[in-house]
Amino acid sequence: MTDVLIRPNEIREPARSGAVLSARTVTIAQDRGGHRSGVTLGSQVPPWLGAAFEELTAFAHLPPNWDGYHALPVDGTVLEFTADLIQRFPPSLPKPDMTPTAQGGITIEWNPSGMCLSLTLTPESEPTFYVEVGDEWWEGPIVDVPDAISSMVAKVRRA
């Protein structure tokens, strides 16, 4: 299994002036044999990127109340941010499951056997994460991710 570190940083310019989500961006770095290397835009892109962009395009066309429970349309800044984020993922990472949220956000999730890693991007609030390994879980604002991921990776290594 590939270990993935998710960390917040401030290296990117905001995608849109005043956008809360783009003020704190997220990069994905992959730990390859103990050497941690950042993945930057312009490097090899994930093979599933085209399919993922099609999903995001479909999300962009969701009307108000698309879920029948008064959902908000998916926010343009969240769409833009998600599109930017997923093309930074390492090509070896499986395609994430992406789901629109009622609050106009997007959840990006992986569900490998016995585990769950989920990021939820919502307009006007902090991105949040959820990590589950077996019977244990962590969730909260994305600034807390490194500790949670470290714990998860440690548990996976012990398994």
Binding site: A58, W66, D67, G68, Y69, H70, A71, L72, D97, T99, P100, T101, A102, Q103, G104, T107, E109, N111, C116, S118, T120, E124, S125, T128, Y130, E132, W137, E139
Partner: protein
């Protein structure tokens, strides 16, 4: 700007209705995007989201704090209707999921009757602690629920 933080806590507005006993089935209508199809169809946690806080004041009748819409199956049956009536106002592409009131309460949620227009069986699920449902509780609800009608599979 309306934010969830500016709204009252659900538990300060709603009271868990003990007449909805733990054995009673609740029905949730399921948008097609809320099902993960592989390896077998199962619900995503997004199937158990609250109404967006921004929409509450404009709903008819207005909803005073965040909560999630459900239908009470025993109330539907008392009206001589079937579970399929929950698709009314949604569409044939939607699915249906059920779970018991006890399963909902096990996730630290309360249930309150909230009849609307032609849906006297309508109710809402709300958090007994905190302002909004945690991802953990949404995932637990998704795992506890039974998909009794699959939504249309997106192409």
């Amino acid at each position: 700007m309306v934010t969830e933080l500016s709204l009252p806590l659900p538990c300060s507005v709603y009271a868990d209705d003990a007449t909805i006993t733990d054995e009673h089935l609740l029905v949730r209508t399921v948008h097609p995007s809320w099902v993960r199809w592989e390896p077998v169809p199962h619900l995503k946690s997004e199937a158990f989201q609250d109404y967006p806080a921004k929409r509450l004041a404009t709903m008819d009748p207005p909803v005073p704090a965040v909560a999630m819409s459900v239908s009470l199956l025993f109330e539907i049956e008392q009206c001589n209707l079937t579970i399929e009536c929950c698709l009314g106002g949604f569409g044939e592409e939607y699915g249906l999921a059920t779970l018991t009131a006890g399963q909902v309460r096990a996730c630290n949620q309360g249930i309150v009757r909230w009849p609307i227009d032609e849906k006297p069986w309508h109710a809402m699920v709300f958090c007994l602690q905190g302002a909004q449902r945690s991802t953990r509780h949404k995932k637990q609800l998704a795992r506890a629920a039974t998909l009794v009608r699959l939504p249309a599979r997106p192409s």
